[in-house]
């Protein structure tokens, strides 16, 4: 191999195959993917996030929650995600139409959150976990985020949304911890994480409850 131009041409060509195959063709294939409108209910899925949840998504990205929490449900033959109750079907490309940037994740040091909103149901959102995960799960190594809460003196009746702190985490009496607007946005985002809607390319699977 002693011809410079030949080496150069080969270097461009080999690279171009992968560039066409993995950049151009996927854009061709998925570039015009649109939300699915259900024939039965007439509802469109997925839907863009409302303002507060979209703001929360930015906080989620900024804090790097994706370093431990994935947002993807693998198919039944490719892992135990569905059996574990992390989703009622595998995640598909259409689920992420409004996710930008994508938070798929590459490490599972903590539970998957793709369907966290579904799991949460009508329960109150996990403000306490956001404040200090150890207040709920002893031994958790998840980061505490006290900067999302304001410590203030109780004036009159305690605030409705003040944290109810367990033993060992209390603040001084006469004081209360109140979530900031950012904490509310983050919770709105977590609540919006759900894709338990059947799609033509991914039917829902019935899952036994695993507790």
């Amino acid at each position: 191999m002693n011809r410079g131009p030949l080496i150069f041409f080969g270097i461009l060509l080999t690279f171009a195959t992968a560039w066409c195959g993995l950049v151009l063709v996927p854009h061709q294939q998925l570039g015009d993917l649109a939300p699915n409108v259900s024939e039965e209910t007439g509802q469109s899925f997925p839907q863009a996030r409302p303002g507060d949840a979209a703001q929360g998504a930015r906080l989620y990205v900024s804090l790097g929650c994706v370093a431990c929490h994935t947002q993807q449900v693998r198919p039944e033959d490719g892992g135990g995600d569905i059996a574990r109750g992390w989703g009622s079907r595998r995640s598909v490309a259409r689920d992420y139409l409004y996710d930008r940037p994508l938070q798929l994740g590459s490490q599972r040091l903590a539970p998957d959150l793709a369907n966290y909103g579904e799991r949460l149901g009508t329960n109150p959102p996990p403000y306490l976990h956001l404040y200090n995960p150890r207040a709920i799960t002893a031994g958790s190594y998840c980061a505490a985020n006290p900067f999302f809460f304001t410590l203030r003196a109780v004036t009159g009746a305690p605030a409705v949304d003040a944290l109810r702190l367990p033993k060992g985490f209390e603040v001084a009496s006469g004081w209360e911890l109140v979530p900031t607007a950012e904490a509310d946005q983050l919770m709105a985002y977590l609540r919006s994480l759900r894709f338990s809607v059947a799609l033509p390319e991914a039917a829902l699977k019935l899952v036994e409850e695993n507790k």
């Binding site: 410079g4 270097i11 996927p26 790097g64 370093a67 693998r74 930008r100 040091l109 190594y141």
Partner: protein, 491 residues
């Protein structure tokens, strides 16, 4: 003088007679190469310390919790970017430029501009890392630095790439060596990778999962078309030069190069296995990851017999030790990656610490050890002076190896348990994650050792520079004091 003499003699042995003017060639690239190596080393220390701090945050999550800049989720991408763009890219470029000069027997073109590119590069990177820590990261996996800093990085690269390729083209002696193919490839692929990823992922992101697909292609490209060829260029030069033996089966090296060029570009999407992307994309990635065993096998066939036949020298030589462990890690991790790309294995190991451990071993074991070993060879030649503290080189080597083992082995082993238990719905998730703590403990210990090793290298480096520059500084001071007006040569 005697030290300089030893180095000149070694060089003369390594070269074909008549010996080219090494001193002149080295002088032509001294400034930029030295800049790249020194700033690369500094970023290695920064990156390892950020990884160390991230490990601490897992062990003591409540410590420093009021400071969001020190949260785990920001430390991890900050560390990765510091290591890939700060350490590996800069060290690789520094050593690559030196190799282009040596192998082409031609002085470096526009070394002043390349040095300026280095300054801009470090500026871009500092801005990018600070932005991640302060919460302005993009959130795109592998491309966390904000667009403004990435474009700056690309501009800085152009200074290096354009004049680097010019130097490559000025090559004056005989056929091109394997190292030169790898360097040319890397220098072309990197700007193409970064420009595409910047445009399609960060600046004008496509809909839905498209940025993830391009991001995976980019991550595979950075690994196999940027860091790997830079490291292999060094391996293909230093092993035969230091052992004094030609590489075995050298005619196969050309196959290694072209198969790496082809399959390296396609290998990225294997990391999306099980993800929400079309199956054919993942399948292409899996096939390419398995086929990457072709260049890996050839690298083993080229270098293995040479290293094996000089085992005594490998154990004693400061540079060869690093390179031998690097080749070992390269082969082992590539085997592991090929095996775990297969769907039935990926169902267990994907997203687990086992996968993380392989990535860590590839970077810190293969890429980093290659560049560190190469730097131990290059710097004394650039400065015409041996390392002032050879013992610190051994300290660096052993601290790094032991640290690497402490980080990688527990994570690889426990990652298998983690993956298996996550697939078993009967095991509560809390219990699975809780058991990972011991791995984090080993990780912190290992990273502390590795940081100490890197500090030993920096100390040695600083000491060498001070020794080299002391006569110059002294004579300048003497000149200033007695004002005698005698002409004093600094070197």
């Amino acid at each position: 003088m005697s030290q300089t003499g030893t180095i000149a003699k070694k060089d003369a042995l390594a070269a074909h007679p008549p010996a080219p003017p090494w001193a002149e060639l080295d002088a032509s690239c001294q400034l930029p190469v030295l800049y790249f190596l020194l700033s690369g080393l500094a970023w290695l220390l920064v990156g390892t310390l950020l990884q160390f701090e991230a490990g601490i945050r897992l062990l003591c999550p409540d410590w420093c919790a009021v400071c969001p800049a020190m949260t785990y989720g920001r430390l991890v991408p900050a560390a990765e970017n510091a290591l890939v763009y700060g350490f590996a890219s800069q060290m690789g470029l520094g050593i690559g430029l030196w190799l282009l000069v040596r192998l082409g027997r031609t002085p470096l073109v526009a070394s002043g501009l390349i040095a300026a590119g280095n300054v801009l590069w470090n500026l871009a990177l500092t801005v990018g890392i600070l932005a991640i820590l302060l919460g302005d990261g993009t959130g795109h996996a592998g491309l966390e630095m904000p667009a403004y800093s990435q474009w700056m990085l690309l501009a800085a690269y152009m200074f290096v790439g354009i004049w680097g390729v010019q130097t490559w083209a000025h090559h004056t002696s005989g056929p091109y060596y394997a190292s030169q193919w790898f360097l040319l490839g890397a220098m072309f692929w990197f700007p193409w990778l970064l420009t595409t990823a910047q445009l399609v992922v960060v600046t004008f992101p496509g809909r839905g999962v498209l940025p993830a697909i391009t991001g995976a292609w980019f991550a595979g490209g950075i690994q196999h078309l940027w860091l790997t060829p830079l490291a292999l260029a060094a391996i293909y030069y230093f092993i035969p030069v230091i052992t004094g033996r030609p590489l075995r089966n050298y005619h196969l090296a050309v196959v290694a190069f072209w198969s790496l060029a082809l399959f390296g570009g396609w290998s990225g999407p294997a990391r999306l296995i099980g993800g929400p992307v079309p199956a054919w994309i993942v399948s292409a990635g899996i096939v390419a990851t398995v086929l990457l065993l072709i260049p890996v096998t050839i690298v083993a066939l080229n270098t293995g017999p040479v290293l094996g036949s000089r085992l005594g020298q490998v154990c004693e030589n400061q540079v060869l030790r690093f390179l031998a462990v690097a080749v070992f890690c390269f082969v082992l991790v590539s085997l592991g990656n090929a095996l775990n790309a297969l769907r039935f294995r990926a169902a267990v190991t994907h997203l687990s610490l086992n996968e993380w451990a392989r990535g860590f071993a590839y970077f810190h074991g293969f890429v980093a050890l290659t560049f560190l070993g190469a730097a131990y060879h290059v710097v004394p030649r650039l400065m015409r002076r041996d390392w002032p503290a050879p013992r610190l080189v051994s300290v660096h080597f052993w601290f790094t190896i032991v640290g690497l083992a402490l980080v990688v082995i527990p994570a690889a082993v426990d990652g298998l348990r983690q993956g298996n238990e996550l697939n078993d719905a009967a095991v509560p998730a809390v219990k699975i994650f809780d058991q990972l703590r011991s791995v984090f403990g080993w990780r912190v210990l290992g990273l502390a050792l590795m940081s100490a090793g890197n500090l030993a290298f920096l100390t040695n480096f600083g000491w060498l520079l001070i020794r080299c520059w002391t006569p110059g500084i002294r004579s300048a001071v003497a000149l200033f004091i007695d004002q005698s007006g005698k002409s004093v040569t600094a070197r």
